[in-house]
Amino acid sequence: MLVSVHNLVKRYGDLLALDHFNLEVGEGEILGLLGPNGSGKTTTINCVLSLLTYDKGVIEVFGRPMAPDAYESKRNIGVVMQNVAVFQELRVDENIDYFCGMYVHDAKTRRRLVDEAIDFVGLSEFRKFYPKKLSGGLLRRLNIACGIAHKPRLIFMDEPTVAVDPQSRNKILEGIRELNRQGATVVYTSHYMEEVDQLCTRIVIMDKGKTLAAGTKEELKAMINDGETISVELYVLQPDDVAHIRQMPHVTRAEYADSHLTIHYDGGQHNLLNLLDYLRSRDLSFGRVFSEQPTLNDVFLEITGRQLRD
């Protein structure tokens, strides 16, 4: 394991931010830490990085206890902070060079790494710009470049796409996949389930400082009763037909209202084909058809009774 967190407890006064929290990160994975605001994601990251004191627990990185003076471990860690951490007085290339220089002392190597980082995040035409001239999305890209320029083995990314335009968001997510392909292990925190769903090989859902569920996205979705949901526009449907549909395999519930038939399944395959075959056999005309797979929000909702985004 690259990162091992065991029994971590952190209090802010009376508030228990981390409640005997455990976490393990294997080499080569993209671990998503998913939870609503205030669930303890950033606190976890900051404790692992030895920025925060904590009341109890053991944290190891690269098999060694993590501490503020664990310079060997720190040399292989990259951090993309939740708040943009760049100097307004330095240009794009200067910021990256400065922070890379805290890890890589050889000037020639560093120059190459800086150029690669700028190209990687797509800031080549902005390298002489000052941060205040950049849009929010470009600023976030600069923030990432500063954290990964030295090619770390382990990267912590704390909500790197907050307030970012869709183009930059896609660029960032693609960049993270590429970093992982190049061998980096990524710990990615977010409250955007779509990103975590899209990006992460393993996910930990947390709330109120505790782990609620952990596993791959398939494993997490399999935890809940709800499977596929199919919606069909149907202008005419008799009660007999609704009753028949309710009896079809894996159907947990079916409702027909406002010319829409909505069916919930608890699993099974080819549910849509079976449904459409039935509708055709009854000569029932239908319009648009939608099929949705369960989301991580559904998982969170089922476990906590609340939505991920409050």
């Binding site: 925060l52 040399r75 708040n83 100097f87 922070f99």
Partner: protein, 378 residues
């Protein structure tokens, strides 16, 4: 050097702080220069004072007085008055028009009529008082002892002084210099802005940049040293620009000891940067509050060192001497002044020593707090 170079760029490109720490003192220095030139009247030349004398019979008969007036109205480099001998009506008309500063009338006594009080009128009165006094003295002596007439006439032509001026150095004391020295002290203490900025960029609970620096594999002491060196460099450069402006453009004198002047500037900048770092480390308030406290502290120290009231430094030295020994601005000001006035460097090195002691105390206390590696909250 990598960290030092970028830190220097970071600070030097902070235009707002550069304005207050460099441009503002230059503006103040220029204003002081013009203000003191006006007040001290350094460029004023003396013009003979216009005076009218009523050509009465008594005046015509008073040969002694006419000769005395003639001596001081004779066109030369030391001409004191410009005489207009005329009738009474014309004389007072000239006075009313402001063409003359006073009207002298001779009767039983010599009289002076003026229309307002001022320097010229005071000079005329002093001249007539001197004449009247000497005339009474001479006539009294001759009445009592006519034999000493020859010797008396010889003595009257001479002036003797019974005091001798002794100076500590070849330099002339100049109270206006105190203002310039206090301005340099203020500029040194404004190096605190850089010290304060450094602490914000070092403490992870104060800025995201500091958090990023904290997770890097670089010892905190190294970061502190490089940042402090950059702050000191920029502060010293600004003071050097101010000194060059004062010496070369405004012709403010610092005596002949340039290296000691630079030493004072260096130690003053160390005091300023460490003051800013101390405030930035120990004052747990917003950045704007810290800046306000730094400005207030620097200005108060500079005020007590004589920045706004020239005699304040002496007043503090007499009424609360301890303040003079712990106020960095007073120590810097006094170091410059003692370089200028005294031949011996004893007092100078005392000031430098005290400054270094205060600075190192603030540095040590700041580092003890800054070296903290973890925080309760970010």
């Amino acid at each position: 050097m990598h960290m030092f170079g970028y830190r220097l760029k970071c600070l030097a490109r902070d235009r707002e702080v550069v304005f207050w720490t460099l441009i503002f003192p230059l503006i103040l220095a220029t204003m002081f220069h013009f203000a003191f030139d006006q007040l001290m009247g350094r460029q004023e030349a003396f013009s003979p004072i216009g005076v009218a004398v009523v050509a009465s019979d008594a005046y015509q008969q008073n040969i002694t007085f006419r000769q005395a007036l003639g001596a001081i109205s004779e066109p030369s480099g030391s001409q004191l008055i410009e005489l207009a001998v005329t009738d009474e009506r014309e004389a007072f008309r000239l006075l009313e028009d402001g063409a003359v500063a006073g009207v002298i009338t001779v009767g039983d006594h010599v009289g002076l009529t003026v229309s307002q009080s001022g320097i010229e009128q005071s000079i005329l009165k002093a001249v007539l008082d001197e004449y009247t006094h000497k005339y009474a003295t001479v006539t009294g002596i001759l009445r009592a002892n006519p034999a000493v007439a020859g010797e008396l006439i010889r003595e009257l032509g001479q002036t003797r002084s019974y005091t001798q001026q002794a100076s500590f150095s070849s330099a002339q004391p100049d109270t206006a210099l105190n203002f310039f020295y206090a301005l340099i002290a203020m500029t040194c203490l404004y190096g605190g802005f850089w010290g304060l900025r450094n602490t914000t960029d070092m403490q992870a609970d104060l800025s995201a940049q500091a958090a990023r620096r904290s997770v890097a594999p670089t010892h905190k002491l190294v970061v502190v040293l490089y940042d402090s060196a950059a702050a000191l460099t920029i502060s010293l450069a600004e003071v050097a620009v101010l000194l060059a402006y004062l010496m070369l453009v405004l012709r403010v004198s610092f005596g002949n000891e340039v290296w000691y002047v630079l030493l004072t500037s260096l130690v003053g900048c160390i005091a300023g940067v460490s003051l800013g770092a101390f405030i930035g480390t120990y004052v747990r308030k917003s950045e704007s509050a810290k800046t306000g406290i730094l400005i207030g502290t620097s200005l108060t120290m500079s005020f007590l060192a004589g920045l706004m009231i020239g005699t304040m430094k002496d007043m503090v030295a007499r009424k609360a001497p301890v303040l003079s020994y712990i106020n960095p601005a007073a120590l810097i000001t006094d170091a410059f002044y003692s370089l200028y006035i005294f031949e011996s460097h004893r007092r100078f090195f005392l000031n430098i020593g005290l400054l270094l002691l205060i600075s190192s105390s603030m540095c040590i206390l700041s580092f003890l707090r800054l070296r903290r590696d973890r925080y309760a909250g970010l």
